[in-house]
Symmetry: C2
Subunit: 204 residues, 2 copies
Amino acid sequence: MPETTAGPSPRSDARAEQRRRTQARILAAATELFVATGYERTTIRAVAQAAGVDAGLVMHYFGSKQALFEQVTRGGQLPPAPSGPPEQIAEQVLAQLAGSLETEPVQSLALLRSMLTNPEAAHTMGEGSLRYRNQLAEAINAPDADLRAALIIAIIVGVIVDRHLLKSGGLDNADPAEITTLLRPALRTLTGTPGPPAASPPPR
Amino acid sequence: MPETTAGPSPRSDARAEQRRRTQARILAAATELFVATGYERTTIRAVAQAAGVDAGLVMHYFGSKQALFEQVTRGGQLPPAPSGPPEQIAEQVLAQLAGSLETEPVQSLALLRSMLTNPEAAHTMGEGSLRYRNQLAEAINAPDADLRAALIIAIIVGVIVDRHLLKSGGLDNADPAEITTLLRPALRTLTGTPGPPAASPPPR
DNA sequence: TCCTCCGTTCAACGGTCGTTGATTGAACAA
DNA sequence: TTGTTCAATCAACGACCGTTGAACGGAGGA
C-alpha cells in the first residue's frame, strides 16, 4: 500500500500512461463508429477491433455499451447560447453554424444520430437543447420568442442533419460561406430585426 | 386448376380476403413500430405480436425484414414538387408542411427515422428527395437555385424531425398555423421574391 | 530472485435476432 | 364424403449480441 492516500501514483508510471493511451484509442474508435453507424449498429466488438484490443477490455474500462456511449457524448458540448442585441443574434447563430459545417462536431453528431433510436441519447440531448433554446428565446424580445427560438434550432438541426448525416441531401460539398449567406436573411426574419427599416435588399 | 388463367380466383374467396386482411394488419403494425423505434430496434417478432400472428408468417408474406421495410416505405410518396411563379412557391411549400404537421405522414417518418441508421433507407429516400429538389430548384430562377432548394428542404426536414422525431425540440404541441406564419418570411428569402419592391412588410 | 500488480486476452454464458422447414387445421373443389 | 390447397403455427437453426470471470504475462517493488 503506497504512503499517500490522496492520488493514484503521483510518480511517472509507464503503465498508467499506456492505460490512458489505450482508453483514448478506444474512445476515439467508439466515437467514429457511433457517428458513422449510430448506436444500434455499433458493436462493442467492432469498437474493440478498431482500437486494436479485446472486447472484454472495453467492458473493463467503460462498464457497459451505454456507459461508453455516454462517455463519448460527454465531450460534446453545445456552444454558448447567443446573447446581446437582437440584431446580432443571427450573426452569432450563423457563426456557430459555419463552424459546425467546416469541422464536424463528432460528439454532437453521435448524439444526434443515436437519439433517433436510443431513448437515453434523446434525453441527454433534450436537456442540453432545452437550456440553449431558453437562452436563445430570452435574447429575442417578442411575444412568440419561444417558438421563434425553436424554429431557429430546427433550421440549424435540419442543415446539419442534411449535410452530415443524410449525405445525399444536396448540402454536402456546398460552400459553408454560401450557406450562411443564403441563410442570413432567413434567420433575421426569425430573430426579430427590430429597428432598421430596410434590412436585406435582395440582389436583383 | 381453375378455368381462367387471367386472375387469382375471380369468385368470392374467403381465404383471399382473410389473407389480405392479415397482410394489412402486419403492414400497419410494422409501420407503427418502424416509426416509433426505427429499423434496428424493430424486430420481426414484435411486429408479429403487434399484428397478432406468428413471426414466421411475417417472413412468409414479406420475405425478409428488409423487404418488409421497403414495403412499408413504398407507400410513402413525396408530395408533388412546387411549380409556378416564384412568389407562390413558398406558399406551396408551407401548405405541404402544414399538412405534414397536422397529420403525420407515417411512411415518410419511418423512412426518415430509419435512414439515419439504415443505409438502404438512406438510398431509397435519397432518390426521391433528389427529384423533388431538382424540380424545386427549377421553379426558383436564380444562379444559386440548387443551393436554395437544398436549404428549403433542409429547413422542412429540420422542422419535421424536431416535431415528430425529437419530441423534446419545442415544436411538438406548437400550433401549425403559427409555425407556418413565422416560417413564411424566412422561406420567402430563399424562394427569391423577385419582382415586387416591397414584398413583406414586417409587422411593427 | 520471488512476489505482486495490472493491463490484457481468452473462452464461454445466456439471450435475442432473422430465418427456415415441417406441421396443423380449416376452407375449398371433386 | 375424400382429397387438395393454403393460411397460420411451431420448434428449431445458426449467428451475433452484450457481458462475465478466469487466466496470462510483462513490469515494478521487496
